[in-house]
Symmetry: C2
């Protein structure tokens, strides 16, 4: 392949693979004519579907893999099996043949193989999972969402550094506003590691608009572009947000069903429902990115459709095009967060 | 006062005190004819308003206090001032004149004075903040919501014990389903202290329907009646839920404004909006309770109206009527969580 922008695809991951995967990549290929794709999977099945998408066929190469990681497989049981489509797709990034990998397969296995194979970027202590979410007037990114259940101040500062670059590359924001997730009861303002992280970031001279702490209820108002937190709290916030959005929509539906009059209003309200649905459509926010590794791993939701999968692929293309991983490395050459954190912890400032 | 069911009220706390407070207590008094009230505040102002509510006047006693805790006061600055309405109202519980205290004032000061004055129940290591929330088909309680930013396994087990009793007394559920809040990515199921707490609870023979872990997006579905978590995660979940509910409603309003057609549908949809609003009405869930102290402190939202304030007071009455604090003490006599946690931590089981 002559083109440098290459994304490797685990064609066998996800609920309706490889069909939905190929359909999704085909959609993404139309939107990203500069990208090429390596499709790992059962070559016969993949080729059969690929025949329906001649424009994708031109920019794709099918590579056969004989085995598949299943959703119920334990990561430890499959992590060293080099014959799975997932392993081979990740390995393509390690070998420098692709810049990013997309999979809708087993999350635990994907993260474990990615970590083992791609390794953490030098000077980054922990990779993180990041995603893009909607707020009232736009979008924001949040990390970590579950890769690390406990984080120290240095981890959080590194997430801020990576999240800042990630937001620049995905949100069309020149100077993202970066905030640490915290709670704000009067007498106690959250955890000590968060205060220390704030100190490290403030003194780091990172090229970043650090705006301090943010509380969860301020997120939907769009007060920050990058929300930094530990993986436990991030996961709690993410799932609370998703669950509540579903609840409110469900309550509305329940209420409409019960109301005789509401049925007459429904046709008029159709546009409203569609508009809100579009803003909150989970397919448009599909894709959790594992950042901090030498290469980018994108996890698509296993049950998404072609549109959702294409969003995950397009995010991978975009980050690869902008040399996301290289940019993190450059920033780390300018700033020694490790040394800085030692100084802050021993209160030099 | 001959009646044993007495609630002390900080009449000066909150945005429109003492007016909203007295109005709220008057509403609660109608619903709880067996309760009596001690009203602490500027006696002249309180009495003026009280004259409008003869039914409350019969069951209330006004006690003058010369000073007020303001919202901007630091807890440390007011904690030992015995002349404030807040201090005096809390002290009435300590003196055994009242079983619970309600205040809409400065949260930090209220918690600090309550802790210092009422002291933690023997064998309980940390008090917690608990509140009642709506799910799709009913209500649930969650604790801790911010009193403790870090919690060990024993703290969580104690919260489960208190939350279970709290839910029995407030939710009309005979055997509440108690769950530990956790995250559930495949490879790692949350934090170690949560696993240990689960072990302690399982081996405690507490009279409780412990159903294991719950993830935040399952909460709105009503899978548990009591959600147990550390104060940081609980606060994050609570504010994420509140913020998102507001966001969705706001998006709907924005969309209606933009849509010409939707305006014709609005009259038909009115009932739907009212129904959902009623389910989610924050006034009906007003009141954060501090549990684990020798006496009950109820914090009302500072900006609520009389209806909201009356809900907080009614919760206080209900818990006092059922001897909430005594029930916790009884349960603790049956079960030695402290000893049990040692055994679990050293893996006797």
């Amino acid at each position: 392949m002559s083109n440098n922008l290459v994304i490797s695809i685990d064609a066998m991951g996800g609920d309706n693979s490889p069909r939905v995967v190929i359909e999704g990549v085909a959609l993404a290929a139309k939107k990203n004519p500069d990208a090429r794709f390596l499709l790992y999977g059962d070559s016969q099945r993949v080729n059969e579907i690929l025949d329906n998408y001649p424009h994708l066929k031109k920019v794709a190469e099918v590579r056969h893999s004989s085995e598949v990681v299943h959703n119920e497989d334990k990561p430890s049981a499959v992590i060293r099996n080099r014959n799975t489509s997932m392993y081979m797709a990740i390995n393509a990034v390690k070998q420098g043949e692709a810049q990013a990998v997309v999979s809708a397969g087993n999350t635990g296995a994907l993260m474990a193989i990615s970590k083992l194979t791609l390794k953490t970027i030098q000077k980054i202590h922990r990779p993180a999972i990041v995603t893009i979410m909607p707020h009232r007037t736009g979008r924001y990114v949040m990390l970590d969402l579950g890769a690390n259940t406990e984080c120290d101040a240095l981890n959080l500062a590194e997430f801020a550094l990576m999240g800042n670059i990630f937001a620049k590359h995905t949100l069309d924001v020149k100077r993202p506003r970066v905030a640490l997730l915290n709670i704000g009861a009067e007498e106690m303002k959250g955890r000590e590691e968060i205060h220390q992280a704030a100190k490290i970031i403030k003194h780091s001279h990172l090229d970043m608009d650090f705006i301090g702490y943010i509380e969860p209820h301020e997120i939907p108002e769009g007060k920050a572009d990058v929300i930094v937190t530990d993986g436990f709290s991030g996961n709690i916030a993410l799932k609370s947000i998703e669950g509540t959005a579903k609840l409110v929509v469900r309550l509305l539906k329940d209420a409409v069903k019960k109301s005789f009059l509401a049925k007459f209003g429904l046709p008029f309200m159709l546009g409203v429902g569609l508009n809100v649905k579009k803003t909150m459509d989970p397919r448009l926010y599909n894709g959790a990115m594992m950042v901090g590794l030498n290469g980018l791993t994108v996890k698509s939701h296993g049950g998404t459709d072609a549109l959702g999968y294409s969003v995950a692929v397009s995010n991978a293309v975009r980050l690869a095009r902008q040399n996301f991983v290289a940019t993190i490395r450059e920033e780390l050459e300018r700033v020694d967060l490790d040394e800085l954190s030692q100084e802050v912890l021993y209160d030099v400032y």
